[in-house]
């Protein structure tokens, strides 16, 4: 694989690598939202949200549609949301395994006593 392609992938992973931007994308499941919509739902500053939206726009993860005064954001390709789904599965699995390891350790320690 050429490094330029990896670079493109890395930039999109980076775009997903911030909790606020993950929150933004989760809000965009199945709908579009204005900047003010994000402000209300996420309780963050308008400027800050605009900045994070700019990051997602730069990587073309989201697209915009202007309607009069407001700008509606939406996810360009829902494959991005599948990425978040996969990440959820991944994190859940790691946690489950960590719990299982703890329980296994406790069982072993009980047996030793």
């Amino acid at each position: 694989m050429p490094d330029s392609l990896r670079q493109v992938k890395a930039e999109i992973f980076q775009a997903l690598g911030h909790s606020t931007r993950i929150a933004i994308l989760q809000e965009l499941r199945g709908r579009e939202l204005t900047v003010n919509g994000f402000v209300e739902r996420l309780g963050l500053e308008q400027a800050n949200l605009s900045q994070h939206l700019a990051v997602l726009r730069a990587r073309q993860v989201v697209v915009t549609r202007r309607a009069g005064n407001q700008v509606f954001y939406s996810v360009r390709d829902s494959l991005i949301l599948e990425m978040l789904d996969l990440m959820r599965r991944y994190v859940v699995r790691q946690v489950d395994e960590a719990v299982a390891r703890v329980e296994e350790t406790e069982r072993a320690e009980k047996g030793e006593r």
Copy 2:
């Protein structure tokens, strides 16, 4: 969703957000590799690779096994590789759509002439 969970996800996305670390994970498809193995295959400096491997280790994306002198790295959960697969599909799709848009534009311009 609590922000702490999003934070965990974001940290893993960040771990994937560098072309060298993507290259490392691709090399680990279906096998384990030593640090020197990465040096040979990727042609990067040993110290640099160790640093990137440390990032992946910190997020528990990879795990290590020491055998004598060497340290073997492997992917902890192959769901991570599915993430890379999904990202490949995503990038390919974006490129295809971009090409289609260009062709559509050319067709329209030809018609106008």
